[in-house]
Assembly symmetry: C3
Homo-oligomer: 402 residues x 3
């Protein structure tokens, strides 16, 4: 009867009505406090952890960087084979320029005046022979220097090996100079120029800070405490900072990581955004697990004799490759992540109510009493009794519409 | 009258009161079941998909890697131009070392003993001429080898071309050796050393697993089934794995991607975190769309004659560049993403109620009846009637405060 | 008494009951409208911003790319030192190939026929001397060309410097050719081949679009308006596009960023996914802050005289390094981010209710009246009065169960 009166509302109702849930307010210190505590915890988590600590209100962008390097230093060596010799940048940096890495040769096995010719292979268990039958013409192994001719020839007074057609004489990399040939490399310096860019925020900066002047740059050397922003690094200092021994590393070579960390909070002034240098040895050198240690590669210098014969000097270069790894995340306030975090934070508040409800309605002495207050039961099928009550309530509740 | 009595509570109220929404409990199989099903679906999604499948409870970090490579192998060629010749690493790997890529020359066009001189340009439709007037002194085209002198000279018995001042004789890259000059390159092997690092978790690992010993490393070759963790790859096997034909690729060159996937679940033991190798041809070679196919570049070896004249050997090197691409994401349990996912998961539960409410209140036969139960109408302006009811309810509800 | 009747329900109840919060429906234009407006704002934000604008329904993947480059062009120089000389790709691109960068030499300081010998150091404040005592045998400074012998010898008619054992004669990089030695480099062209891959979506594409044919590629030059998809760039155009002056940059060198942006919406046809080229000077050249400007490095060409003496030509190469930086994010519909955003969006709706409640219950004239309607007070301890009401309500509410 009154039902229609109270229920037929269209747009008007939609617009001009405000519906808010009906609440049971239970006056109970236990539950009340518990509820507030849970809410407090959640609030603390959302505000304190997500926002303050993790900066959940920030949009982040990862760094784009460009690196150029320059090595400086001269080393002098004096060996019976090469005599007195000076090595400068053009000699020991190979290739002359890289993109994010620079290789400094610290040790080498040099084979002078190789020509395409026939000679005895370097002896190992597969190449040593006592008779031509041990060698198969045309055979090329994975580790052989050339193609076998099928002959068995003396390698030296004591050993015979299969003859090969190769760059002769073949390289003898049996014994490695120790200490490293260019042990003075520890005093070389590496200048790193690094420009970074955060595309999303259009923020660019270089590791040579505006505060650095020419004279300082000419003389400074990086030091974690005293000169943390000097972009010039002494090779040995880097290796030491990584907890390694330079001279030991120089013998077999290795790969060092020069990590530049550019974590920046762009809500703060740009001057606060500075590089942080750390050093790490990348090719893990654990004595227990020394499978193919170090770092080396071969390259050659090609010559032509007056008769137009090609000859070359083969160099197996051991050394340290410095990989400049640029990291970093910049954060700046943005509405999207803020909203997402607030949203899920709010949702978590629901947990408080759910928890307390469970306790109140299932574990408290007066649970039945509370349930009656919280719940109103409605049958799908109507009994007379229910009808009467229902309608009474209804009259009462919808009374306002008459 | 009683109003003040029941409403003025300050902090004390805030702390010691617990408010929980009043609920209408509708006993209806239809709606009840539906409601539970929707909730179940959402729960299944949140737990099953977001958490179990997508590991939404994990914080992820992307890999930082360092790669070093070493190629091994020797090839022998025998041509009228160069005679019998052996090629080793120092000859065919250019530059001798890269950062994440290594180039293996498989084919080449060699121009010996070039000197700075005057000679006939390589003939094409722009450079062929019948008379000096066809050539303009000082002209330099995009594809010309040098600067034109204005003369028209014989290139060979049949053709005349404009004379140029250039490195002479000019390169003739008209015909490309087929099969590839260094076709034996298919048996070369590539050793890849890859060290990875997950900075956020301080987790490092190398692709030479602790289980691999020296002897195995000396002899093994990668095979998807039998040797999935051997870091030594036969060039041809890689190209085959990418569904390409090595010999065909060797002629014009190309770019191969050697992808190393380091997806790791760091909640599991570290030994479960192993590399996965896949191979892909990067420069897409579709017969339909052969604009500038393959991969090649030019470089020169410089010589100086006894008279101090510069001469060079120009090499147009075709070959395969292997880009080592290291991928991967590591995941580890973290509270933030967990909370965010739980939060938005909970929020989704709201959907269940919303859905069912719509059905109950708009589509069911007894919708009016249910609405009465759910809603309590309150007028902004008070009628006497409403007042009475209101106050009656009030007396009733706030009775407890007296 | 009736309590047990209405409250003891196990699974049956759980399954066949549907609970929905009881709502107070306040008929108030003010509050109603306000509520709807707040909800509308949130809806607009969620739909419009998060979904339409930020494409919150998409899963994103970042690009994996492979770049190959090829420079074309010839320059002629005529100096007293070198005479008439032509420079082609093999001469001015060092190293012959890079991974994501290519270096074009535009200026150089060349030191011919250096041999390991004794000679006077290049004069600067530390090396000039008047007497042998000013020089210490064996001393090697950071900027010295070699090791000092302890003698003081004339560098030229006017100056005396300490003698060094080094590659002699030492390089004189005091004066830099201006205009740049290879100023014609501005007309060189750079062909960039870029293949990209979105692993998550298995989507690959190259910057040489299917629409480009061979003839177009032979002749085209990139132009932002007329030829935005031609992958061939004139060096000078790139520098100009970055707002720099080529000739000025050519003198001291620098680093240019050629940025290729591959932002793609993969819900749209693949043909809509095209590269966008932008240019930027990376080594920031601000007149105010010219600490170590430009870009240069040293390399040498090694020769061997007939007597087998090593000699070299040292070249300090200034030039422009073009870093090809490939960016981009691809988005494709995915259920996870969609749900997360919907979830947190829904949660935000809670804000609307919270806001309005605050206003209704604390700031409106009839706040007390509304509160009575919204809240039902329940005492933890029961008074007789409360009991009666409680039980009456109870009888009424649970009536349906009898």
């Amino acid at each position: 009867m009154a039902a229609p009166g109270c229920c037929c509302e269209g747009l008007r109702g939609f617009l001009f009505e405000y519906d808010t849930p009906r609440i049971v307010l239970i006056r109970s210190r236990k539950v009340g406090l518990m509820n507030r505590l849970v809410q407090l915890a959640i609030l603390a988590y959302v505000i304190g952890w997500v926002f303050v600590w993790e900066k959940g209100y920030q949009e982040t962008d990862s760094v784009v960087s460009s690196v150029t390097t320059k090595v400086k230093g001269v080393a002098v060596t004096n060996t019976s084979k090469l005599g007195l010799r000076v090595w400068d940048v053009a000699d020991y940096v190979i290739p002359p320029q890289g993109e994010n890495a620079v290789f400094v040769m610290t040790n080498l096995i040099i084979t002078l005046n190789q020509t395409q010719d026939h000679c005895a292979e370097f002896p190992d268990k597969t190449t040593t022979c006592s008779h031509d039958d041990n060698c198969t013409a045309g055979y090329i192994g994975t580790h052989s220097s050339g193609v076998q001719t099928g002959k068995c020839v003396p390698y030296n007074s004591s050993i015979q090996t299969c003859e090969v057609f190769a760059w002769c004489p073949v390289e003898d990399d049996g014994i490695l100079p120790k200490p490293a040939f260019l042990k003075d490399a520890e005093n070389f310096t590496l200048l790193v120029k690094n420009n970074i860019w955060y595309p999303k925020f259009g923020f660019t900066k270089r590791n040579i800070l505006p505060t650095i002047n020419k004279t300082y740059l000419m003389s400074c050397k990086y030091h974690a405490q005293t000169d943390p922003f000097c972009p010039i690094f002494r090779l040995r200092d880097m290796v030491d900072a990584a907890g390694q021994d330079f001279q030991e590393m120089a013998v077999e070579g290795g790969v060092m990581g020069l990590q530049i960390n550019w974590d920046c909070d762009l809500d703060k002034p740009a001057s606060r955004c500075v590089p942080k240098y750390t050093f790490r040895r990348i090719d893990n050198k654990d004595s227990s697990h020394t499978v193919s240690p170090g770092y080396n590669f071969r390259f050659a210098k090609y010559y032509q004799t007056a008769e137009g014969v090609d000859s070359r000097t083969l160099i197996k270069a051991y050394g340290i490759r410095f990989d400049i790894m640029v990291f970093g995340k910049a954060g700046k306030f943005d509405i999207i992540p803020t909203m997402i975090n607030i949203g899920s934070g709010l949702a978590l508040f629901g947990v408080a109510t759910v928890l307390c409800d469970i306790i109140v309605l299932y574990f408290m002495k007066k649970k039945y009493y509370y349930r009656e207050k919280k719940y109103k039961y409605v049958e799908d099928f109507e009994l007379g009794a229910n009808e009467c009550y229902g309608s009474q309530e209804e009259r009462q509740e919808c009374g306002g519409d008459r």
